[in-house]
Symmetry: C2
Subunit: 156 residues, 2 copies
DNA sequence: ATTAAATTGGATACACATGTCCAATTTGCA
DNA sequence: TGCAAATTGGACATGTGTATCCAATTTAAT
């Protein structure tokens, strides 16, 4: 139901958010998130085109979150790589149809709406700020580098 | 997000429900629901193995709903052909993990749960009974055959 | 018994999602 | 200036979902 592509992109986005505002190379991100590096490269390109991350070329380059983590929703990330397409007209294309969906597709679309809404409600910052952080989480080695500022971007 | 396979299977199931308790050949179902016949055949086999439809071989054979339409949920149909698999352990398989999901995957799984619940709440009978029936719907030619009993199965 | 309508299951074909590789380019740094 | 680190984009490889075809089987009706 949820594609690998979505998964990978979200891992990368969350990881970048956790490391913001420092840039990370694709290789670093791939290692931390366990995503195939070459494939991740493509996904980051898509996120870049969508204005979610920003790429920095050349030595010391890498990827950075393009905006504050609390300004990027899960939905944005997902839609950048594998858009949720809502059902807007009956897939059967019957002549008898107006714009109204049949009961079946209406329900299916409602389900899509649920997911879309849930994804829209959550920002990367919120994922990082989760109060259950004491419990084991998908712990990318949360830092180890030189002096870090708190994830979640205090500067606002 | 929702696979063709799901779509097709639901169309077939809803159609069979609308025609119950009469059996329909794969060819008939395919035509009414605009699903590729050969592919539909495979899907019906899966629904049959799942106990959702019953196959009748030989001349005058076909497919029938195996149970009352109000006893079959959308979820059952979907799970028979393209199971919604909830996230039960972190896909990253980090050593630091207990059974608890990280915040990211917890949210993703919550979204899956929303869909699963929505699908579990709706039966085929409810799809057919939708009060908006006056509005154009994915109108399979709702009968034309010999004497029919009301869809929704009056006999309880 | 024969025929025709129908499902079954296997083999195959095609399309798209996933994943890899590499040459070209950009750029920080010695 | 030259080198090495990094992204970019295209080409290619692989895997899985989607779709087709057909021989074998079952069975109603003649």
């Amino acid at each position: 139901m949820l594609s690998q592509t979505m998964e990978y992109s979200l891992r990368a986005a969350v990881y970048l958010a956790s490391q913001a505002p420092r840039s990370q190379s694709t290789r670093q991100i791939a290692k931390a998130t366990k995503v195939p590096p070459a494939y991740l490269s493509k996904l980051l390109q898509a996120l870049s085109r969508a204005g979610i991350v920003q790429s920095i070329r050349g030595v010391k380059g890498g990827m950075v979150l393009a905006r504050d983590a609390d300004d990027i929703t899960i939905l944005e990330v997902v839609n950048a790589v594998d858009p949720i397409d809502r059902i807007t007209s009956c897939p059967l294309k019957l002549a008898a149809h107006g714009a109204r969906l049949c009961p079946l597709h209406h329900r299916l679309d409602s389900a899509l709406e649920l997911v879309e809404s849930a994804f829209r409600r959550t920002t990367l910052a919120e994922v990082l700020a989760e109060p259950t952080t004491s419990i084991p989480l998908c712990s990318f080695p949360v830092i180890a580098g030189p002096r870090r500022e708190r994830a979640g971007k205090p500067r606002g």
